[in-house]
Amino acid sequence: MKSKRSNQLIKHSLLLGSTVLLLAACGNGDDNSSSESASDGNDGRTTLEFWSFWGSGARRETIEAIIEDYNASQDAVTVEHVYQPWGDIWTKSLAAIAGGNAPDVIVQDINSVKQRAEANQATNIQEYLDADDISGDFYPQLWDTVLYEDEAYALPFNTDTQVLFYNKTAFEEAGLDPETPPATWDELEEMARVLDQGSGDSWEQIGFYPRWNIGADVWALNADGGNAWFDNSGEVAINTPEKVEALEWMLEWQDYYGRDTINQYEAEFGSGVSDPFISGLVSMRGQNINYYTNLVENAPDDFEFGVAPLPEKEEGSGNWSWGGGFVLEVPANTDHPEESYDFMKYLSSTEVQEEFGMNSFDIMANAEANENLKEHPDLDEMGQMIYELADSNLEVTTITPVPLNAPDFSSLVNTEIDAAFLGQKTAQEALDDAQESVENLAQ
């Protein structure tokens, strides 16, 4: 019996041991693959891990084709594309940086480069620029975003701008000229009233609602000569008279349609068939210009639409708009910054930028690429027109890098703006309070 028992004991120890080993193995397996990808592969080429959030559609196909071309064009480096979902990518990259296994190149938010530079999360790439200055290739306001203490920490990749999309068929049916989109806020309102069909809580057609697909911050900036919550000189400028007026204007729209009605409709908004602009429910809407791709993909063939700059508050106040964008960055403490920079430079080159732009309708950071796209033979008339508009709109587009002294100020502002839309505060009170709390945060 005793020997039998020892056998059992050994058996169980083996079972336990093998389980632990198996676990360790599956952990190690992952470790191996990631460390392999960060260092030399079998064929003597260096492997670079490149993270983007371009997970589907044209962007993924294009970036993967571009990477394939790059890998074929030289024999020192193999780039491997890893998709990370939007929103998670920043979290995951930080964890990777902290864990010492960061990717080699990553697509990052354009507005927070300075923050990451300050926190030692990004690699300083100034030395490569000193050797070969390509900063002039980019739109100047985009280049500004990548500088921290006058040294570069990233290369701008793309940007966007908010414009007005309008349904030409709806315009015609309502007796409006489909070639004359609204130029001012007053015209916008007049036209919306003409386009409206329905009343109370039941509408077949809603002319326009400012807060759909565009933030209150964009209209505030549009009203205030392109000055965002932090103005162009870096001061907190939340409760300026223009911004208060903009908020009051948005509140009027809400009162007109009714808060509950707005909520009801908003709840059913989605992509594809449930897109309210494509379904004809909403006739005009402010939106990121690359919404164009969405229309091309999802709208029926006979869907006629136009694109115009955002209307200005009043004549002469300017069609100010807001843009975001993305940069290419080398995380801190990676093994191959030089190779990584070379790949980033490739992605910023005019031809590659052109290729990416042509398929995604993103506005590229490389100014020449956008110039070329305006009359690119592979684009149809509408496509060229989009780039024409994009290029001119960039002149009045403000980029809003997050201020280093108040990185999470926007939640404070949004809270106050929400309070105004809930009727708890007037526009003036809400923005006054926001001004105070952001000043408090920033000092």
Binding site: S6, L9, S13, G87, W90, T91, L94, A95, I97, A98, A119, N120, Q121, D201, D260, N263, Q264, E266, A267, E268, A332, P407, D408, S411, L412, N414, T415, D418, A419, F421, L422, S437, N440, L441
Partner: protein, 311 residues
Amino acid sequence: MKAMHATNNQKKTHKPKWNKRKRNEALWGLLFVSPFIIGFIGFMFLPMVFSFIGSFTNYNITSRMDFIGFDNFRRMFTNDQLFLTSLYNTVFYVILNVPLTTAGGVFLAVLLNRNIRGITIFRTIFYLPAILSGVAVYVLWMQLLSPSSGLINTVLSWVGIAGPSWLFDPNWTKPALILMRLWSVGGAMLLYLATLQNVPNQLYESAEVDGAGPFRKLRHITLPLITPIIFYDVITSTIGAFQIFQEAYVMTENGTGGPANSLLFYNLHMWNKAFVAFDMGYAMAMSLVLFAIVIVLTFINLKLAPRWVHY
């Protein structure tokens, strides 16, 4: 392990056999509970110590960990409007959630606690929603709560009520989550049911002889008997409700907090501070405050227990 085995079988020693056996037993005991001890130290105790220390720093994982005293705690209550919003939302949710789910669980258990044909089928149906959890349930409820195409407002419209916009109206977001929570109240129900089924029938019969109606029986027999379980349920569901996170994260698009931050719960705010802003020091300080709140509430519950719990 072999060594232990060997000592077990050594026959000749100076110490009395009893002591050796006892020591041997103790070693075996420690061996058996060692996974818990290791896990407790590695995954709970040390992390909590680290968290405690980190609460007093501006730790951000990559570049800094400076001691900043009570600054994180001061910021919470003076500089972070959203912290107060999240605390308010969470307390609001707990106050609504705990009594309703407890009452719901007791109600279903009392309803099920009778010897009639087919009762097990009803028990199965009542319990089924409780075992369903995760993203699929949240997605399902996003549809049920959808203002115009959802089931709930459809049913309400049959009786002529225009339902609210639920997840899109800041006044209705939290009730919407409570509704979802009530659907799966079957877990608590089973706890109560198990106790109720052990109640001897004579108790009810003799009460009936005394002329007690159903409500008096409920009030004077059933409820007192299940107070220990209510007590357990209240404590655990309070702790659970304070940790509400996933619902809000999934149902408000990556944890933005819903309309007017009405679903920005404590843990969601902590999550955003930790994993979006990477303000780890601050987030750890928040977790410490949460822990303190839970301890105080549990303590209050324990203190109040003798007044209403019948053992």
